[in-house]
């Protein structure tokens, strides 16, 4: 195994919800004493149902949220204090791709200017070099010549490509995708997954891939961490997890995946009926 790029040690994050003038808020522990190590170059998929804490975990891993207890170490050191100069450098090496690209982009600014803003924030770069970098990354994600468009003029798949371009232009080491393909149609989902996989190799990325879709997790992940109620209940190599799930919750999840074909469904139902008798 390569060096760990990200280590989370006993991380806990709580949220207060509800609570009015007279009532106390309820405290939800979204992430509960989680430890997770992500090695350089691997794709770690995090799966779980809604409310399991996977998005909170992703935000903690990216350093855009801080834990109540425990530590998040990036290359062995904690994230710097927000707003400081080292923090700004770190922001560039860890990038985030969100579920809904249309809300992650400014509706009024052109795609090129939104991608270019990353260079202004994180690097010193003259105008000519900046333009070359933007064109290069647009080309790479399959949006050649579309830099002057605004989000409204693009499809969902194209917008997600733009978000990926914006994340990758600063050459991050760790890319965190939170349900990055969930809002896309099947055919577009395949395009974006292919793009992410080829970019991963090209850029030497480490990825944390949060998804509720076990099919997607199986396709992209070297390793899968299954979350339930704020905890990781199973964390293993993808093939092992699918072939021999250990935790009862993992088995429940795998059993709930719809059958691949009607024939597979009938075989499964027949086996279940036989087991019941």
């Amino acid at each position: 195994m390569n060096d760990p790029i990200l280590q989370m040690i006993g991380v806990t994050r709580r949220y207060e919800t509800g609570g009015g003038f007279f009532s106390k808020p309820t405290v939800t522990t979204a992430v509960d004493d989680i430890s997770l190590t992500v090695a350089a170059g691997e794709v770690c998929a995090i799966v779980g149902e809604s409310g399991s804490g996977k998005s909170t975990l992703a935000r903690l891993a990216a350093g855009i949220d801080s834990p109540h207890a425990g530590q998040v170490l990036f290359r062995g050191t904690p994230y710097a204090k927000s707003g400081s100069a080292p923090w700004r450098r770190e922001r560039a090496v860890v990038q985030f791709v969100f579920q809904n690209p249309s809300s992650a982009l400014d509706p009024r600014a052109t795609i090129a200017s939104q991608i270019g803003e990353m260079l202004t924030t994180h690097e010193r770069c003259d105008a000519a070099a900046r333009k070359a970098r933007i064109d290069e990354i647009l080309d790479r994600v399959g949006l050649s010549g579309m830099g002057r468009r605004v989000p409204q003029q693009m499809s969902g798949g194209q917008l997600q490509r733009a978000v990926i371009a914006r994340a990758l232009i600063v050459r991050p080491e760790l890319l965190i995708c939170d349900e990055a393909v969930s809002a896309l149609d099947v055919s577009v989902q395949a395009q974006i997954l292919n793009l992410l996989m080829s970019l991963k190799d090209e850029f030497g990325l480490t990825m944390i891939f949060v998804t509720h879709d076990l099919g997607v997790a199986r396709h992209v992940g070297n390793r899968i961490a299954v979350m339930q109620n704020g905890r990781i209940v199973e964390n293993r190599r993808t093939s092992h997890l699918f072939d021999r799930p250990r935790h009862v919750y993992t088995r429940t999840l795998l059993a709930a995946i719809p059958a691949a074909t009607p024939a597979a469904r009938r075989a499964r139902d027949a086996a279940a009926a036989e087991a019941a008798t």
Binding site: E49, S50, S155, G157, Q158, D185, V186, S187, V188, Q189, A190, Q191, L193, N194, M197, S198, H212, D213, L214, G215, V216, R218, H219, V220, G221, T238, S239, T252, L253, A255, A256, I257, P258, A259, A260, T261, P262, A263, A264, R265
Partner: protein, 348 residues
Amino acid sequence: MTSPGTLTLDGSAIGASVRLAVKTEPASIGEPALNVTDLSVRRGSVALVESTSLSVAKGETLCLVGESGCGKSLTCTAIMGLIDAPLAAEGSIRLLGREIAGLPERRLNGVRGRDVAMIFQDPMAALNPIQRVGAQVAEILAVHGATTSAAERSRAVLALFERVGLPDPARQARAYPHQLSGGMCQRVMIAMAIACRPKVLIADEPTTALDVTIQAQILRLLRELQDETGMAIVFVTHDLGVVAEIADRVAVMYSGRVVEEAGVDEIFDAPRHPYTRALMACRVGTGQPGTALPAITGIVPAPSARPNGCAFAPRCDHARPLCLVQPELTERGKSGARVACNLPEEAQ
């Protein structure tokens, strides 16, 4: 079994099937439960759904499959007579042998919820947030005159909640939608939809917003209810796994039209239309992990910018000059499969 027009439902029948019989004209022999012919939905001069024909037999589940914007939901909305200006629907919709397209709203209200019912994708949005869920289900029974007294209605509601697997029905009936989870709300929606034992159930992506474990429960529930009541189901989904779980027959839609319709096994084992084949190929989780998926290049055209002829041709690997002519949905093979593709059969 009870005679039509009466209601037998004792709240004590735990786990037993809910028997709510409402008088409906029996479908004439051989007539499908729902038969849609040449349905079009337009906004001005732009056709969003174009000459779509579908039929579903009693006890059968037809899955309507396609990507966003292909017209699946609009087709359902049109069947329910819920198309409003600036949209306009035309075509024939025969429900239990009776034409319901163009019926005045007052007459339609007697049909909707009783003979045909709909489940929506987002149950939280479809339920009234400021009314207790039990009362919302009771309202359906009251409107369609299926019960005679409030006490009878509340017993019926409890039995329905029991049937759709809501734990502690008496307590849930007093809950407001925001107090229930998405899966619970969807069960309430299903209870509402089956309250009057509709002959046709339209389910528009009923499990898309739900977690996989809840999805599996809801699909099982719908299958059981269908076995009990023999209702026909039109089930809209973009998820081919869900299709494999629930469909008897499948209609694949692309850009406002049905491009292929066939039995579920045929769709999976021997899809004919290039679009169906491409959809099947780019499913995640079936191929070798980590390998490139055979994605379909390009995007679905906007309804206002459809190319001439076959709308899929610009994305189709097999497109030829003859694809500039709009293909008709025609029968292929012996199984009754229908395909809208100009390519000769051997090229498909």
